[in-house]
Amino acid sequence: MRTIAAAPAGSRTYDLNFARWVYQNVDGGDRLSLCMQCGMCSGSCPIGTAMDHGPRKLFMMIRAGMKEAVLTSDTIWNCTQCYNCVVRCPRQIPVTNILQGLATVAVREGYAPEQPTAKFAKAFWFSVKHFGRTDERLVTAFFYFSFGLVEGIKRGLANLPIALRMIKAGRMHLGAPHRAKGAADLRAIIAKAEEIEKRERAQGAQQ
């Protein structure tokens, strides 16, 4: 059956302030109002076929206030960050950066608990926060087991041959994770940055 995805459905949450919110709060969002819907972004996307909407349509949905549909869209998660759309956009809209900003909002507001990208990002950030550096073994293991114990073991075993080849090639070490000596300093910086963002959000909500 043919469905018209952009048609309003009763169950969808609409927020007519959403577009303005994105313009003002998402990094690069101030240029979004210049979008003329030419489709260069979606046409340049290497993984457009794996996206439910693609950036062009997603931007129109933002303007239509389709907050929930936008923040649950897999377009923001399947972006490979190749920056084709960014360098080609005739209106110099930083498409990739806007998708990144939307991903951050989607996670913070709980729209994307099951997205693999969000799970991977959680694992990645854990490593950055605790060690100051990314440990690929730690991130991968954390990510696999975020799907549950059985799935974690399954995924781990499936990727064991690659891990063994990496170890053999000397590109996966077997000791403790590499760390920055100043990992605690970095955590203090991150905590301050989080505090600033929280403060700004609270100020924004009061306006």
Partner: protein
């Protein structure tokens, strides 16, 4: 030889894991090209392409802020990085701190938690841009003692090495976004043959390939297939994630698509190390490629013997 030029070097996390062979070979060839690398003291992760998702935009920005503040403490030399994602983040944040007062203020308020500060007076540059603009092809050619004659190389640039900064003033205007030539020029300078290769800047799926390869295997297949069709012996790339994805997923592609791929994927700096007559293992780190670049190893042996 003229005085070496000093750069503050940001190796990035992959230099200690999946791309040790990029770091090792770059450090090996750098002195020959008049590049002195001084590592940023106790650098941290740049957040790559997912840090913002869980961490938030400003915390992600502050990661580069700390690295830049630490680099600035070591002097005013240009910051050099060879990793595409490190470059994207560090260069991007640096320009933002330079040009956007609000970002500068917020990053410095964050850095203030540990008494660090950075006002945006450094330049952040990609190793390839430095090779093009500061070193130059003639100097590279001048170091070649073991020309890689007969080696056919598919130059695969990938995305973030050139996009979105290669054709900007701050990015050194060193090449184009769609048909960059610098990598083929490096290949030719080493005496190898740069085969006609169309998907130079096709995307390998980046980090999406790391966690959801089911969505991106077809992208990598295109990249490998074109190299094989062009008769290449090896694929050469500047990007750590491209190197890893294009190399490690060939077996999965073979399984999925019934192909028979087994083509080595090396870094341009590994080619240079061999062409400069340096050691196959210690300098070119050829033992660290999962798919052994046999022809290149053979060429290196010839010199060593």
């Amino acid at each position: 030889m003229s005085e070496p030029k000093k750069y503050t070097y940001y190796p990035g996390c992959s230099s200690q894991a999946s791309a040790t062979h990029l770091d090792q070979s770059l450090r090996a060839v750098a002195p020959k090209l008049g590049i002195e690398l001084e590592e940023i003291d106790d650098w941290n992760c740049c957040g790559a392409s997912v840090g913002h998702v869980e961490g938030g935009t400003l915390p992600q920005t502050a990661l580069s802020g700390r690295n830049l503040a630490k680099a600035r403490k070591q002097g005013t030399s240009d910051v050099l990085t060879a990793c595409a994602a490190c470059y994207l983040n560090t260069h991007g944040v640096n320009e933002k701190i330079k040009n956007d007062v609000r970002t500068r203020k917020r990053v410095n308020e964050s850095l203030g938690a540990v008494d660090l500060n950075y006002e945006g007076d450094l330049n952040v540059r990609h190793a390839c841009e430095v090779l093009v603009n500061d070193v130059g092809l003639e100097k590279i050619k001048g170091q070649v003692k073991n020309p890689l004659t007969g080696l056919k190389v598919a130059g695969y640039v990938g995305c973030q090495t050139v996009r979105p900064f290669a054709a900007t003033d701050t990015g050194g205007n060193y090449d184009t976004y769609d048909q960059p030539e610098f990598l083929d020029n490096f290949v030719k300078a080493c005496g190898a043959e740069a085969v006609e290769y169309d998907p130079k800047t096709s995307c390998c799926g980046g980090s999406v390939s790391v966690y959801s390869p089911d969505k991106t295997l077809h992208l990598i297949k295109k990249i490998v297939q074109a190299a094989v069709d062009a008769g290449a012996d090896v694929i050469a790339t500047p990007c750590p994630l491209c190197q890893q994805n294009v190399e490690m997923y060939q077996s999965a592609i073979n399984k999925e698509f019934g192909t028979n791929f087994n083509i080595p994927v090396v870094f341009y700096s590994q080619l240079m190390a061999v062409a400069f007559g340096m050691d196959a293992k210690k300098d070119a780190a050829l033992d660290q490629n999962m798919i052994k670049p046999l022809k290149l190893v053979e060429m290196a042996r010839k010199t060593a013997g």
